[in-house]
Symmetry: C2
Subunit: 346 residues, 2 copies
């Protein structure tokens, strides 16, 4: 990593102009275009000198000798950190988002799917949404359903109406009546507790019967593995949008990316690292550790269902993207998602 060379005002303006123009046109930006469109007071020769400096300090690069300049990852990073002007989502986009969420089904999964769909629609990129991560989730309701004589379906309703289910096999046949009784008992004792609290009380609760103990153990297991299991689920939508970007005309570049998207685990670990404190986080080009994302950027943020139930939402797109606009729209959809989820009932 190069140390952050300070850029004087004019160099900053030129870098900004290069990023803006290149983002729009997709063509390397030459000194004449810059002089004509952005710096009428300066001659192209002057700009050429500045451009040469910016190449030297690693903010720009030249595809070949007689081509214009293109931002490097470092250039984009400087742009988003210092030069980018805040944008607001347009009224049209806001209306679209609002309308789409109004028609969303009233379930967590349904809303998240809708969020992925809307986000890919308004950003014209691939959207990513993780399932909500539950920290310290409280148990709201337990139900036990007999499937076969020795198999029980545990249904667990957690805070935020997240529903988990797991099948447990028992050593002995147990009737639905027994299970219902057990469930009623558990509901009284267990309601409003977190998994951790439950763990400490295990002996108090279920020392009475081995079967009961086993079911409670599975309950806890089910809650604690919740994060690990669900985190690997990353919804995505809008791959079709990517195909329209000129940077993906060669299929080769798509292949690695598709693998990442379809396999999910690696992506999940990236999204998991998004800090909940930050507003919007960006990962640009080679800042990504995955080779499949070398020519892509991620714009990520957090949505919240409650204070304790949060997830990550954002987009993957080509490094050459309109960051200001994408940030505004990711933020918009994230807020809308949080809003709808919060009103789902808790």
């Amino acid at each position: 990593m190069l140390e952050p060379t300070p850029l004087d005002e004019r160099k900053q303006q030129i870098l900004k102009a290069v990023v803006s123009d290149y983002t729009m046109t997709g063509m390397p930006v030459g000194s004449q275009v810059l002089a004509a469109k952005y710096f009428i007071a300066l001659s192209s020769a002057t700009i050429r000198n500045e451009l040469a400096d910016l190449v030297g300090t690693g903010y720009l690069q030249q595809p070949h000798t007689s081509a214009g300049r293109v931002p490097t990852d470092r250039g984009y990073r400087y742009f988003v950190d210092f030069l980018m002007e805040p944008e607001a989502a347009s009224a049209t986009v806001r209306r679209t988002v609002k309308q789409e969420f109004e028609s969303a089904p009233r379930s967590v999964d349904g809303i998240l799917e809708k969020a992925a769909m809307v986000l890919s629609l308004v950003t014209e990129n691939v959207s990513l949404v993780t399932a909500p991560e539950v920290s310290e989730s409280r148990i709201k309701h337990i139900d036990l359903v007999s499937l076969e004589p020795q198999a029980v379906l545990i249904i667990l309703v957690l805070e935020g109406n997240l529903i988990k289910q797991q099948v447990v096999h028992l050593e002995r046949a147990t009737s639905q009546e027994d299970l219902s009784r057990m469930a009623a008992m558990l509901n009284l004792k267990v309601k409003g507790q977190t998994a951790d609290e439950l763990l400490g009380r295990l002996e108090v609760l279920g020392a009475e019967k081995a079967e009961q103990r086993r079911i409670i153990e599975r309950l806890i297991e089910s809650i604690t593995t919740h994060q690990a299991q669900r985190q690997t689920v990353v919804l995505h939508d809008g791959v079709r949008n990517l195909l329209r970007h000129p940077e993906f005309v060669e299929v080769g570049r798509l292949e690695e990316l598709m693998e990442l998207l379809e396999q999910g685990a690696q992506l999940a670990s990236i999204l998991q690292q998004v800090a909940f404190e930050k507003d919007v986080e960006m990962i640009i080009g080679r800042e990504n550790t995955s080779s499949g994302l070398r020519e892509c950027s991620l714009v990520l943020t957090t949505y919240r269902m409650t204070d304790r139930i949060r997830g990550t939402i954002g987009v993957i797109g080509p490094t050459r993207m309109h960051y200001g606009q994408v940030v505004a729209r990711v933020r918009l959809v994230s807020h809308a998602t949080s809003e709808v989820l919060a009103h789902l009932g808790n």
Copy 2:
């Protein structure tokens, strides 16, 4: 549609050879290659005459005057209907499928996701799996959970351990105790019934209270809309495989296909039309009504969880695919899926 011109034995053999060779190499097949590799007894000139006839009757086509021959959709259709030799999945593939399913989670969704993953893996195409379609599904268990004073979560366990959930808003606040009592009562009366049966008995069951009636109505609604809702869910996996096929080097062709995959509804209606009676159904090239599938073929079959709970599973691939092998592998994975689902408990 041309009427089915009868083909004499030799023309059939030549058509078969063209399809086989073209499937392997992806290059138009010339008369010399055919003579050398498949018909040593014949001269290339003779084969040229036959090829010309096959072009005339619409089974083959020429990309351009001086190119070899390529099968038309009609040619492929004739091939799969009359010429294709039954193949069996190799031991390696069978082992892979077996191993993958052993590590599958013990839930319907988990198994179907695994099925999609395995199928795309072994066929190197895009796999498609619909959620199981329930006809006449019997109710196994009902649970009512209070979310807010006036909101109830209905959890419905159907035959085959399919779990449905729906939130109902009530006119009056109802406590969890009341709900539990209601659920216990409903479980006694409703268990083992189908939605249709329930519908007839509505007045018998719940005339007592308006709230109860409302909940039962929602229950029925939930079951009956089951098909319509779930059918639109089509799992897919393995888009990355498609990128490796030379027919998709131009991104344009992929775009429409991706749209179809991500949007889902149109695909769902195609998969819904797969006849449960037939073994394996194939839809080749322009036999597809969707323009995005014009250059693709579908190989589809049915999996069964029980006699009444069935779904569709299959693949989308380029028209130039190794049909014999794909059919064998689709069938294999379908059987494996049925097997695992059936043992999930009913």
